[in-house]
Point group: D3
Chain length 308, copies 6
């Protein structure tokens, strides 16, 4: 959003979070976190009424008339008028969601073609057994890859998966020694546990499963369950290779699994996964700012965002 301080904005938003407080003059106000395709923005509604408190809740779609202010260097909306979206607005949830730059349907088509490229019947069967379950497929193709920082938008995980497949396809020409089937299967399945770890695609939150087991081991659990259902040995050498890549491929401070990468495919996946996550994170910051330098909480430093 390029609006300057003091400019007026009239637009539609989803309510992502809200909190009621009492102002220094004793009247009640609501602090909102709103989002639409342009990103996330904080907002305030002063002298809020009891009625407003009833429908200004998480997940509501609203129309807002507000002035742009700045607080600690970040835009914030001073809401003058606000109401729920009605049918007349002809606005749908999908219109308000920030999502991947490529349509979800196209990404899904690309993913299916990459699955066709896998020659191993075992891995093909494993992937199809998991993706033919409607709830898994539905969620895998809609949730973000992370709550924030990278691919943090509708169908972000699907975009991440398909990009990793493209990266792999390109680099397998440079490193032909690597096992293509294992790598593609890892690209496709490595975050499948997030379908159980994240609550929903619009306002994602960690589930109890996500908190207690973590998405890495949840991915392993789902692969085990899929293999059993498909009649594949859970110790099949290709399944083992895939599991190892997933377990060793998440080496971030807070999400460490039991083993370090010990195969060429695991080393390969670890680096392309980090590469795509970090590049996407930097592109996300760049899209939201007009500054040349922007502080990034993920990188924990100021990043060059070029200012245009």
């Amino acid at each position: 959003m390029n609006k300057q301080e003091g400019e007026r904005i009239v637009d539609y938003f989803i309510v992502r979070d809200r909190e009621t407080s009492i102002a220094t003059n004793g009247s009640e106000y609501i602090s909102l976190t709103l989002s639409n395709k342009d990103g996330v923005i904080r907002a305030k509604v002063w002298d809020v009424t009891e009625k407003q408190k009833e429908w200004l809740i998480k997940r509501s779609m609203i129309k807002v008339d507000a002035l742009v202010t700045f607080y600690r260097g970040q835009r914030q909306l001073n809401i003058q008028r606000v109401r729920l979206v009605t049918d007349d607005d002809a606005v749908e949830l999908n219109d308000l969601l920030n999502h991947a730059s490529i349509p979800r349907e196209d990404l899904w088509q690309e993913l299916r073609m990459f699955i066709e490229d896998i020659e191993s019947e075992t891995l093909c069967e494993l992937i199809k057994t998991l993706l033919k379950k409607k709830d898994i497929r539905e969620k895998l193709t809609t949730i973000p890859a992370a709550k924030q920082y990278h691919h943090a938008y509708y169908a972000g995980l699907l975009e991440h998966i398909v990009t990793l497949c493209h990266v792999s396809a390109q680099l397998l020409q440079v490193y032909p020694q690597l096992n293509k089937d294992v790598i593609l299967a890892v690209c496709i399945l490595h975050d499948i546990g997030k379908t159980k770890a994240l609550s929903d695609p619009v306002v994602p939150d960690y589930t109890t499963n996500g908190e207690l087991i973590g998405h890495v081991v949840l991915s392993i659990e789902m692969i085990i369950e899929g293999a059993i259902e498909a009649g594949i040995s859970t110790d099949h050498h290709e399944v083992l290779a895939v599991k190892h890549c997933i377990l060793s491929g998440h080496v971030q401070d807070s999400v460490q699994s039991g083993v370090n990468s010990k195969t060429a495919e695991a080393i390969f996946f670890q680096h392309i996964n980090k590469l795509d996550n970090q590049l996407n994170a930097l592109f996300m910051i760049g899209n939201e700012t007009n500054e040349e330098w922007t502080f990034s909480p993920m990188f924990k430093r100021r990043m060059y965002t070029s200012g245009n």
Copy 2:
């Protein structure tokens, strides 16, 4: 072993490892790693014959006539005569194995009683489904808890499990808020993945599964498979609680799982597990030395071993 330098020793041993080399005078010799109930010791056979090279192999049971020497502060045997054990020796593998101070059968009886103490039918059923498989039960009750450092002897894992059950039973009286069923199930199942990660009870080595997946996640995999077989949901809240304790309970540098402890039971288990491992490690060192201070590779410092 208390033998002094230069003393003669005649005894039975298992060959744990061997390597052939050529001495500075051009003749061949063999370096052996031997073990019996008294611990592990290195040995050398000079001017080795072709015949000897054939039967002086890993897992052989041998009778040795040797002189004690010291090399870099450690005892070493200078073998004068050596032959394979014969029936006449009336020596069995079991006689040569260092094992837990309590007979394996008694430990197994104690373990069964702790299983009876679990009131949750879900957890009871899960444990019994896993332990009634002969290969799992056989291995769980014979392998060491680790290749070296702590409980590194025959049935060491079983002793570790039973000790943890005793510790838990004692401390549940001080902390009655904790869930007894979850804690006992964790004590019993937390290292079950080691039955797949370690090759065998006598000369344990890491399996490919152990290297690529690690025993922590292997434990989770086996619980998932056991639950599916027993018709229990893999997300059942008690199963989830057990899995969380196992995943978060192994916080050693080289074996980290996906999550930190987030429940009271997980915190509890993490500390008693470390306590028992470290105390056992120190007791093991103390049993093998007569020195007041002994360097421990596990603790990475000199430990007080009191000299008696």
Copy 3:
């Protein structure tokens, strides 16, 4: 406290901290940190008078009439009326203090019995010499074990000490090789330096001694002084064993002493001390929240607080 947003509350509190500010309308207001048995809460007094500024100070006992609001997810009081407690209120400091679940007198009785259990005359004499000093005994039995996070309430240190004695008594049955006298003495004396490091039991703050020397080495200093007074050699082998456990038992990032644990008793104490501190910290969080998941600044992650 279970009050919802907007509910009215009339209750007694201790003032733990206060700060004067000027509101955006130019009038002065006071931000207070209050506490009573239900825990700690922040509060605001708007349009404060000069008189109020005189008596609304640290350690004042006050009666408050306020509305509950929320700020960044935490309850806060919007104080409408406030006055000092008077004799007519029949409220005593003790009534407002959050303290251990077991009466301080009972804890003291238990502690005395554990001291009787110590068979070493040297250690018994050392403990008694220190505890018979009124100022030490008084403080040891009233201060919290920490300013926040764990056992952070009246007599919290005493409760921590007695719990550790119980834990030790239970586990000595599982690990009979350990020296009971040394362990009990360590449980009782390990935090005695906190009587010099913390200013007072009600609004504890670090003393200059606490900042410059730290409570660990202060404990050692007090043991040295006690030993000299009791005519015990400061290098007596049991005193040395106790000092080693204390020095090596505090392995937190910010409070490290000179040595790592090198004896079985030191290893033992280190783990039970952490166990009790962490469990108590989690129980404290659980008591103050109705949420299923609560962020803990001590654990630096969301903890499962079960929501009931």
Copy 4:
């Protein structure tokens, strides 16, 4: 090398290191480190003569007749006969050097084509100014990329550079937002400081410059000198971008430069550089072993080397 213990080997080698010692029988022997295309191997010459001590020196090319032995799991040669290579042997240094799998001339051709791909005149000019110096070009196309672990063979650095160019060319199709010119220039120049940090291509050692300044900052120094010579501002925005990628791209423990990556190109380069180094390191280990698992000092763990 696949020779078994006790087999005879007759072959040519370069002497990389040697040390004289006195055996337990009082006679002198020499320990050698030898290498040829098959890798590096240790060897011993017993009862060495004064003459032999004169010509068995670093960099000598020798012909050896030896028996294969094993010491601590590694092959070692027990040399029976040894002499210097003569003209009659028709063996050249080049024949004995382990080098990149692609001929150095072909790699150089590929590198020149990548330079042609750079559209920025500034960067093109900078690269050509540096590479047209004979000593730099000579060394850049012959030295290994590292003394050991990865690309540690003749022309290893050149192979590393060309592989990075290929990786970049492939991935720029997936990430078209990245600046191709900057990335190619970084691939080509990022290790140019190694031409000053490493002593020579055959038996590379760190120079005083390499020890005191490190190859990262030496690369920056050479770019500065090249820019001055070519009449380019040392702060030109493209030169700045290249320098930043180089400085931030070496995040290994022992070789850290002043800044973290803050641009998309720097993030990109950092990951593909690590990817190529680690894959090459693993391939190098795989080529030298027949074992399924091999300990790697670089990865500090056992790596899967598949055993064929």
Copy 5:
């Protein structure tokens, strides 16, 4: 500043930063960061006019009439009246700048004398070539040594340099083995890159060069450029020694260069540099507080500031 809460203050300031916000009553206000010789202070202007917004900008010199308030323990000004400084005020920028306790001219004289003490013609020539450039000399003698924490005032860098020269001169008498010329040259040149990394002496900010290259490597770059200009080899052994000390002398977490100190001079410089930075940081805190204990963001702990 010793003003108490509620006291009035009338004084001159420089505007260092400003931000416009909208108050809860809908009116606009400006948050300012002001500074003068007494340090830095935050301030608020309520009900700000459009005119005021035009001239209340970064770098403005203003006269303020305000009341002192406290916010989170820090003084803050509640501005009642404010206007730009006029000629009649007879206030100059210099009067408002906090600077080194010794006049900049005297420091410059001292620095010149230390340069005269250097006997090496090479190092003398190198330093003079760099310092005779007006823009470098101008900036080196006016900028602070850091944006905050230590020597963070006008000519702070010059004071830091001169103090290091004094420290070196004193300690060379205790350690006469050290190379005086190298050490003095390092003291003088070690932060010369800050003249390119920091934007200006009054409101210093990081330049793009500073962000992308860092001041350590910028210092090396400038020395290289200076040497080339002066006709000195960039690898001259004394220049190499100086560069090594600079590269290895900045071992702070966020600013690490490529090498650890490997010479006596580098070890020496590393410690005296840290010593002067930390002592100055503590003295700066002490000057700004009347408290006995003050939290320091640089030291990340409460420091003893003695209260007078």
Copy 6:
């Protein structure tokens, strides 16, 4: 020692350590660690007799006739003839000890003068009370400052103390704000605990006290005992300041005390202490080598030792 390989050496040594082994030809030999003023060297006696085994023990003074060999790059003696030193040799222990470059008596005189410089009666009295005890004074003036690495020679601690006093005297002129009395007292007393932590000046080993308490806290204990004996309050503000500097001044990995430095004097002492230890360590390496670069186990890297 500059002897080349194969040269003969006839000299006197102290035996610091010995070990008996059996050679590959079955005969016994002894490995010795010897030292004299030139440093430490390893040696071997082949075909050792029973008699020799009796008197070739730790602390023996011997005369040796040997050939110089090299093993793993280090000189080693191949002893041909060896006997105990006799009265006729007119060699005394003192002649064989490597010690500080300044005579111990002169260092003691200097130390006494620094004590006279302390104006605080409290600190003067404290120091004198401790140093007038014969066993403390005797040991403080003879032991090394560390077992190896720095000041690891006879009276090394005394030299370290006196050098620190000189450094302080010099720098107090640059930083006159610092408290001279506290700093001098810290220089003198900071390692007094080493008189209890190290066994003896010739072949120093850690005592049980040293292992269990560590020399830092032992220093505090001795200061407490000294203060009590001298009738000084153990919390006297100057004693407190000294204790704080000692506790916070040892920030090495293995020897951490309870607190970080929080006073100017503590910061000062921490840096000069590290400076002197590291410079001395580097000078020690330099004295023992003729190489330009030498690997240092303390610095864990190759250090520049200039080769002359």
